[in-house]
């Protein structure tokens, strides 16, 4: 296609992405380097019959003027990145000096907001991704072996956990594990502990969040694997059988190598999706036990005082994290493209 028609065809799409994705990224980076102006304080002395008292008040006019003059705020450089809510360099350095063992150091460090969020996000990503792949694969093999008539309904019900709104899906599970819900009550009976509450326990809350994560994502892995299973070469399978391969050997040497490229695809998509884990933390009201990077941004932006600089700094750090996760995909896509041309 020639340059000129190409330009006109991609124009609407480019403008949308330029205005609402690219410029906001620039704006986020800039904001993270500035902090809001401090209020201008004026000190006045009131002298009455009983002596003088000093009073301070906010000079609204001067503050507004200052804000209008430089709407971005004060330039702060990397200050926001290094403060206690983010990388907390001075706190970490102090901890390093004051703690004796690495374990204690790590334990104290994960109480700092950003490291707490990062620790949960990475643990969640590292545990949910492989479990999703394994469960999805097992469902795909089982559904593939099922009778033809029930395959349709099986796929229908399997899709539901993935299609349903994440916030809503996690709420549904949350209500069931409530101490007065069916799962929560059963857990109490199983553990023989009538005071057991998922809401109150950090480890149980982490497990619940991850169970939700696997429940929500397994259907995706299932569908991709199921489609892959339809294209397994039956000749190779038969040849393997004639050579005396057992069922397990056939899966191991024929089916799994065939599905390997799909596994890379699922793993990459899942890494990206799990890294942005957010809605279940809101639904489960889990923020006391587990926070994620996305939740930290939401928390900064959602309150009465919108902490734009703080949210912007966390956003930039999150984007850097995503970029690191994504770099293998880009390298691979680039290689594919150069091979094709």
């Amino acid at each position: 296609m020639k340059h000129k028609p190409f330009f006109w065809f991609v124009l609407p799409s480019s403008i949308a992405m330029l205005l609402f994705i690219f410029l906001p990224i620039v704006s986020v980076v800039v904001q993270s380097l500035f902090v809001e102006h401090e209020q201008v304080i004026i000190e006045s002395e009131n002298c009455g019959p009983f002596g003088c008292t000093k009073a301070t008040s906010v000079d609204q006019e001067a503050t507004a003027a200052l804000r209008a003059e430089r709407p971005l705020g004060q330039f702060a450089g990397l200050k926001t990145y290094l403060d206690r809510g983010h990388l907390a360099t001075s706190e970490v350095a102090a901890l390093w000096r004051s703690t004796d063992s690495v374990g204690e150091f790590m334990g104290r460090m994960f109480n700092l907001p950003l490291y707490k969020a990062l620790f949960f996000t990475l643990t969640y990503t590292a545990i949910v991704t492989p479990l999703t792949i394994i469960l999805g694969f097992m469902i795909a093999v089982a559904v593939n072996a099922a009778a033809k008539i029930i395959k349709g309904p099986l796929i229908f019900f399997s899709l539901l956990p993935m299609i349903v709104t994440p916030l809503v899906g996690s709420l549904i599970l949350f209500w069931m594990v409530d101490a007065r819900g069916i799962l929560g009550a059963s857990l109490q009976v199983l553990a023989n502990d009538p005071s057991l509450s998922v809401k109150a326990s950090t480890p149980l809350m982490w497990i619940m969040l991850m169970v939700y994560g696997v429940w929500h994502a397994a259907p995706f892995a299932f569908i991709v694997y199921y489609a892959g299973l339809q294209t397994v070469n039956t000749d190779t399978l038969e040849a393997a059988m004639i050579d005396g391969a057992t069922r397990w050997e056939r899966i191991k040497y024929v089916v799994i190598p065939h599905l390997l490229p799909l596994t890379t695809f699922i793993a990459l998509i899942q890494l990206m999706d799990n890294f942005r884990v957010f809605e279940p933390i809101v639904s489960f009201a889990a923020s006391a036990h587990a926070t994620s990077l996305s939740w930290a941004i939401y928390n900064d932006l959602g309150g009465e005082t919108r902490q734009l600089s703080s949210a912007a700094a966390t956003s930039v750090l999150t984007i850097i994290g995503v970029a690191i996760l994504l770099s293998p995909v880009i390298v691979r896509t680039y290689r594919d493209f150069t091979r094709k041309v």
Binding site: F9, I25, M138, L154, I155, D178, A227, L301, S315
Partner: protein, 292 residues
């Protein structure tokens, strides 16, 4: 099927047990919540006996019948959930239409261009696609406040369209790659301009791909929480942020059943959608995977 291919009984039993267990895990939470949404809170969250939720003992005592629509009337009328439903319909309708209009034009050009910049365009789109949308919100807010754009439905629509674009472009790009180039090129040999070739030759054959992409664009707009909750004002909330706001206010008032009813109401359309478009959803999920 030959004897060698037949499964041992133990494997058959395991498969049946595993599938039954998965079906329970996948579907039971929805059925349970649907059933429970017609009960009162004392049954849905029963301290005494979980079986109350099945038979509705408290519901019978409180309302005289074992089923009640209190949750639904409370959510839809008293808490004005219908307003959010209307907002969601508007948002989804416009997001899907605009995304697909922009997306088909862009993706068609990307699939027909052999220049290197087309490839970089797609790579940039892929990077945009990987970024969590919530990281962009702190970039929107100051501008939206300054120009008084914050809180309105059209703002949310255009933001969701933009966030949708990278995905739409990638998906449609792979569909257009499957439509033979000869088709539109022969039309151009016959004297069509590029746009006429697109309009008269490509548009009539692109609908299967467009419908599949539309389903996923719809899901993205329908399910979004991060963006809509932060850039829509209270009166303009769509359904998902509205449900989240139920959790803050009504849970303390003891009206958690409103939230349960709202949750069932928001899930029902998705059920219907999966029922009618199962084939398209499955093909859409695998389109990127099997080829890439």
């Amino acid at each position: 099927m030959s004897i060698a291919q037949q499964k041992p009984v133990s494997l058959k039993v395991f498969t049946v047990v595993f599938l039954t267990a998965w079906m329970l895990i996948a579907a039971f939470p929805f059925l349970w919540t649907l059933w429970g949404s017609f009960k009162v809170e004392g049954d849905f969250f029963s301290k005494a006996d979980w079986a109350n939720a099945l038979f509705g003992n408290m519901t019978t005592i409180e309302t005289g019948d074992s089923f009640t629509g209190q949750g639904y009337s409370g959510a839809w009328i008293q808490e004005e959930f219908w307003r959010s439903a209307v907002n969601t319909v508007l948002v989804c309708l416009f997001v899907v239409t605009i995304s697909l209009t922009f997306g088909t034009l862009g993706a068609y050009a990307l699939s027909r261009s052999t220049y290197r910049y087309a490839f970089w365009f797609l790579i940039v789109a892929l990077i945009f696609r990987a970024m969590p949308p919530i990281t962009l919100v702190s970039g929107y807010l100051p501008v939206f406040f300054d120009y008084n754009l914050w809180g309105h439905l059209p703002t949310a629509i255009i933001v969701l369209v933009a966030i949708n674009q990278p995905f739409t472009l990638w998906m449609l790009h792979s569909f257009f790659n499957n439509i033979p180039k000869d088709l539109d090129e022969s039309a151009m040999v016959d004297g069509c301009t590029r746009f006429q070739a697109f309009r008269h030759v490509i548009v009539p054959v692109m609908w299967p791909g467009v419908i599949t992409t539309a389903l996923f664009s719809f899901l993205l707009a329908y399910n979004d929480f991060a963006v809509t909750t932060l850039i829509l004002s209270k009166e303009n909330q769509t359904m998902v942020p509205k449900i989240a706001s139920f959790l803050g206010t009504t849970q303390t008032k003891g009206n958690v059943m409103f939230a349960v009813a709202a949750v069932v109401s928001i899930t029902a359309p998705l059920f219907v959608m999966v029922m009618f478009f199962q084939r398209q959803i499955v093909s859409g999920l695998t389109a990127g995977a099997v080829k890439g």
